[in-house]
């Protein structure tokens, strides 16, 4: 067993971790308001200015799992793993153009979730419920992956102790981190991750700047880093005759990722906490700074390759247990002094707490608004509603912890893959109605069913291992991100059926969006 504990790295890590996460508890007093109201607990009162939203979204979108998994993908697959960069490049023009409008509708009518908006715009409870359930189900594995990211960090530190809960072994450090995250989320709501995100980002940027300056210098410059990558992995391979080829897959992965990203409940929650449309637009201008950080981070995968950490005996244990996601922790341990390893690992670990908290809040908002109040207790008070959300946020996190404890990591990754495909299928219901007035809610529901079904089948056909599925039409093979091809089907069904329904029933009886409180009974 090579996993001895480095006292300096571990000491720095534990100190930073607890200092920073304690901010989450203090946060309840910040921008003080009645946290018994769901717009306060779950959206920070829609009062976050542009700078704060920037930090919050940065912490929200670039997660601990991102930090370990995406470089690991580059490490294993090479250039085709770089699609996260074009994805980040096109997501912000989308945010700039579309989401101020979403914010406006939600703020005006008091909507807290995308499903609130769907319920209000279409007055169709079933459609709203499906949108809410899609969000909850897609968020769960994403939340679990944050815990996987934490596990990789704890393994990197050599922290290992297990306790037995319900007859099953559970990692003690992971359990402690879970308790901390659950505590501050319950206590402070969205204010907690917002406050923590600021400090976390300072750590992350310090780590990254150090890494991009120091690592290539130690490895002999960027040229040497890229020279260590096998040449056939440096670019996207050209297409075979009769196929659109891997380059088409690369582009659709970027497009589908960008279209789906802000449909995810945690991303939308971050945007809705903004204080104005202007705050969102200014964010879209400045968010690319994170995209640049992400790109550099991806290159850490190549740096790990160039450093040759995989062949070093002291890391064999970690690679055996975690596979390629251990590459970046190993690289840091190999090249940085102990105290800095502590700082870097703390940054990544805190990077799991911020999105983890926001994801559980977003799922809780959805459950409370669109399942509990829509179907179980429509007449509940605002304080009761918020209490339900707080408890559900605990349940979601406990579920995620159970999931990573009882199921193999590969199944979490597979669920995350299919979650991304499912999330994209809410696009017509959530966004198209803002632009196209004549959509029918029954058509949207049918389109959603078609998209979900097709997406699931395509993912299943690859054994839930690959998000790209090759469609075959005579004479042409189209390797396409399943989320995109399913979305195309979804949109076609929605438009065609809406048109048919409108033609048969005459003009749309378009009613104004319903405010969230009185509209819940059909």
């Amino acid at each position: 067993m090579s996993s001895f504990i480095d006292p300096v790295a571990t000491g720095v890590f534990i100190t930073l971790f607890f200092l920073i996460s304690s901010l989450g508890f203090v946060a309840s007093r910040w921008k003080r308001a009645d946290l018994g109201h769901i717009e306060e607990w779950g959206l920070g009162g829609r009062r976050f200015g542009p700078l704060l939203v920037w930090f919050l979204l940065g912490g929200d979108l670039y997660t601990a799992y991102t930090f370990v998994a995406l470089p690991a993908l580059m490490y294993a697959a090479g250039g085709s793993g770089f699609f996260a960069v074009p994805y980040s490049i096109i997501v912000f023009p989308i945010v700039f153009a579309v989401f101020p409008k979403v914010w406006g509708v939600c703020a005006k009518h008091g909507y807290v979730t995308a499903a609130d908006m769907v319920a209000g715009l279409y007055r169709n409870r079933t459609l709203a419920l499906m949108i809410a359930l899609t969000g909850i189900v897609a968020t769960m594995p994403y939340l679990s992956l944050q815990l996987v990211g934490l596990e990789a960090i704890f393994a990197g530190l050599g922290l290992h102790a297990s306790i037995t809960i319900f007859g099953s072994e559970m990692e003690l450090p992971l359990f402690v981190a879970f308790l901390v995250m659950a505590g501050f989320t319950y206590n402070s709501g969205l204010r907690a991750p917002a406050m923590i995100a600021i400090v976390k980002d300072i750590l992350i940027y310090t780590t990254l700047i150090a890494a991009i300056l120091i690592v290539p210098a130690k490895l002999g410059g960027y040229g040497a880093v890229f020279d260590a990558v096998p040449p056939e992995k440096l670019l996207i391979p050209d297409a075979e005759p009769g196929s659109l080829g891997p380059q088409f897959a690369y582009a659709t992965l970027a497009l589908g990722g960008a279209l789906g990203l802000f449909l995810y409940p945690h991303a939308l929650t971050g945007l809705l906490s903004a204080s104005s449309r202007d705050a969102i637009r200014r964010n879209a201008v400045f968010m690319p700074i994170y995209a640049f950080a992400l790109a550099l981070l991806l290159l850490l995968g190549f740096m790990a390759l160039a450093a040759g950490v995989k062949d070093m005996p002291q890391y064999a244990d970690g690679f055996a247990r975690f596979g390629n996601i251990y590459a970046v922790p190993a690289l840091f341990k190999h090249l940085f002094p102990s105290w800095f390893v502590g700082v870097a690992f703390a940054a990544i670990a805190i990077g799991a707490l911020v999105p983890g908290a926001i994801m559980s809040i977003a799922a809780a908002n959805l459950f409370t608004r669109n399942v509990y109040r829509a179907y179980i207790r429509p007449e509940c008070s605002e304080a009761h509603e918020t209490q339900v959300a707080k408890i559900f946020s605990l349940l979601v996190k406990a579920g995620a912890l159970g999931f990573v404890t009882f199921f193999p990591e590969t199944s979490v990754v597979q669920l995350q893959l299919i979650g991304g495909i499912w999330m994209c299928q809410t696009l017509p219901a959530v966004l198209m109605g803002l632009y196209v007035r004549w959509l029918d809610s029954r058509a949207l529901l049918t389109g959603w069913i078609a998209g979900m079904g097709a997406g699931t089948l395509m993912a299943g056909a690859t054994g839930f291992k690959d998000s790209v599925y090759t469609l075959t039409i005579p004479g042409l093979e189209i390797p396409c991100y399943s989320a995109v091809s399913a979305l195309v089907l979804n949109i076609m069904v929605t438009l065609a059926l809406s048109l048919i329904i409108r033609l048969r029933t005459g003009a749309a009886p378009s009613s104004p969006p319903a405010p969230v409180r009185p509209a819940l009974q059909d």
Binding site: G79, F96, L235, A251, V285, P288, A295
Partner: protein, 71 residues
């Protein structure tokens, strides 16, 4: 869009938001190793550069048509 008359030509600047889509979604534009910049192959340098170009274009759109607007 009550203020459409006042915006006139200004609103066309929003088309700049489409440029990043064309630039990065057509992979053959940049799928090559040479030329390198500071040792970084073109494939990577191009996409890194477009992060900043995209941000710059969004910024121009903001300044020209949206600054301080509550639309």
């Amino acid at each position: 869009m009550k203020d459409r008359g006042g915006r006139g030509l200004r609103k066309w600047v929003n088309l700049l938001l489409l440029a990043p889509f064309i630039a990065v979604l057509w992979v053959p534009f940049y799928n090559s190793v040479e030329p390198r910049f500071f040792g970084i192959p073109y494939f990577y340098a191009y996409q890194l550069a477009w992060i900043w170009i995209g941000a710059g274009l969004t910024w121009i759109v903001y300044l020209v048509d949206w600054r301080g607007s509550d639309r």
